[in-house]
Amino acid sequence: MKRTLLGLLAFAGLLLTLVPSLFVFSGSLSPETNKSLMAAGMLLWFVVAPFWIKRSR
């Protein structure tokens, strides 16, 4: 259960990195907001992924 939650959070970090750029491309998101979301995605990924990977092993 905890592993699944960690996996979902880590995956959300990766989504926050990639998906907002698609909205910038379509013109529905500003580049500045995209940069903030990418920074949030980075934090989420690097905080959660080590625990998720450790549990997966």
Binding site: G13, L14, T17, L18, P20, S21, L22, V24, F25, G27, P31, E32, N34, K35, S36, M38, A39, G41, M42, W45, F46, A49, P50, I53
Partner: protein, 467 residues
């Protein structure tokens, strides 16, 4: 205490150095797919993609050149390197020792270590371009070979020292961190490129190709840069890892593969790192050129920061650091093989200092394409030696692993092949003006002919008794 732990770690890294990898330790192709994708999405990608733009590679030349070049690289791993690796299941160094003798292997290690130092140096410089952003550091230009400011030297020294200290103390942690960072870095490359496309006038997928041809890979080199054609791109993509596939350095990797077909897993590195990431970083650089009206400044850090903010700058730092760190460590191991009784941490520290000094020179970044091509070319002849020794010599009734069989410290057939092949490449370069990117192909044939001929001469002159 800390160094005892490090030594224990090193012992575990050096497992099966002089014995075949046992079946229980062998891995399936999926392990290699992820490993190659991570290893080949690195700091160098932030430099190579933009350099293609700077050298005026055309869009069609780049797309198809990379496609074919990367495919040839994958086939080289799968058909040349992996089959020997799974049959022998020993490291490159041990294989070289058997064929070439200890003395020549020492020389190979020394050259390899030097190349590793320069490669790590370029990555430290790449990281420094991102670290320097808050300090308003003047960035180097494409034409710069020497450091252009005191702040550049100071920041490079700081980044280099931190990288060296970490390489000295903890390879395992960095390796784990690099594995975690890899999927995120790939997405940062992609996201940054997608987000800046509207600035080039691309607002729908259908608009991409005309813009790619006219504003990204326009086919016009920047001032002072040579022109790259389809052939440059294809041969660079094929040979930039020549030391690893044709040069057989990845014997040490694929000796863990269950099957030679794992060689095809190198496609993970080639088509993610050396295709997507190169195209993405090229797009980022095109936006920078567009905004700066073709400025000759060349700094991956500010370019990534402009496109992806803090995440972009961190990606450049992490990509540079996670490439430089294991490279310094590998260079340290190569030197340690030359001086077996030396302490690993001391060797790594010295190697790190040399690397940091080298990193102060922007030429390492600006001429990265030439350096990477040189790196592959210099080590390639030993790959040809291993291939001929493994497949051809037994068919000619000659002994493989001659140095081991004869109990000699140096195999002159291999030494002659190495030296004469490089001399032949130099001759082709000077006499016919063939650029360094293309020399690997004729050089390989020269090496094959030389090693076969020299082995025949030496073994006929001084035959060994059959076992």
């Amino acid at each position: 205490m800390l160094f005892d732990k490090l030594t224990a770690n090193l012992k575990s890294v050096q497992e099966y150095e002089r014995e075949p990898v046992p079946a229980a330790k062998q891995k399936n192709w999926r392990s290699f797919l992820g490993m190659y994708a991570g290893e080949h999405t690195a700091g160098t990608e932030f430099v190579i993609g933009p350099l293609f733009v700077a050298h005026g590679a055309g869009a069609t030349d780049l797309i198809f050149g990379l496609l074919i070049g990367n495919l040839l690289a994958v086939l080289s791993w799968a058909f040349l390197c992996a089959p020997i690796a799974v049959k022998e299941r020993i490291t490159l160094y041990y294989k070289l020792e058997k064929i070439c003798g200890k003395k020549l292997t020492v020389l190979y290690n020394l050259v390899n270590a030097l190349m590793f130092c320069f490669l790590a140096g370029s990555m430290i410089a790449v990281s420094a371009t991102a670290v320097g952003i808050p300090f308003d550091m003047p960035m180097a230009r494409l034409s710069d070979w020497l450091p252009n400011s005191a702040s550049w030297v100071v920041i490079v020294m700081v980044v280099g020292m931190v990288t060296t200290v970490v390489a000295t103390l903890g390879y395992d942690q960095v390796s784990r961190f690099a594995n975690i960072a890899a999927p995120w870095m790939i997405l940062v490359f992609l996201a940054a490129a997608i987000a800046v496309l509207p600035e080039l006038g691309v607002n729908s997928p259908g608009e991409f190709w005309p813009v790619a041809e006219s504003r990204i890979w326009s086919g016009v080199p920047l001032e002072g840069q040579s022109k790259f054609t389809f052939w440059h791109v294809m041969f660079f993509a094929w040979f930039c890892n020549m030391a690893m596939h044709i040069g057989m350095a990845d014997l040490s990797i694929f000796r863990y593969a269950k099957n030679w077909k794992s060689g095809f897993a190198s496609a993970g590195g080639m088509f993610v790192g050396h295709y997507l990431a190169w195209l993405a970083s090229g797009i980022l650089y095109a936006v920078f050129l567009h905004k700066s009206q073709n400025s000759l400044e060349f700094a991956p850090g500010p370019i990534a920061y402009y496109a992806a903010g803090i995440a972009g700058a961190c990606c450049v730092i992490i990509a540079g650091w996670t490439t430089a760190n294991p490279t310094i460590y590998r260079a340290g191991l190569a030197v340690q093989a030359i001086i077996p009784n030396s302490k690993t941490w001391k060797v790594t520290l010295i190697v790190g200092l040399i690397t940091t000094a080298a990193a102060c020179f922007p030429a390492l970044v600006m001429r990265l394409l030439d350096f990477v091509a040189l790196y592959g070319l210099v080590l390639m002849p030993m790959g040809a030696v291993i291939l001929i020794d493994f497949y051809v010599l037994p068919k000619l009734g000659l002994k493989s692993d001659y140095a081991q069989e004869a109990g000699i410290g140096i195999n002159w057939a291999a030494t002659g092949t190495w030296v004469l092949t490089l001399a032949a490449c130099l001759f082709i370069n000077f006499s016919f003006g063939v650029e360094i990117f293309f020399l690997g192909l004729p050089g390989w044939f020269v090496a094959v002919i030389l090693y076969t001929g020299l082995s025949y001469m030496i073994q006929s002159f001084k035959p060994l008794n059959s076992k």
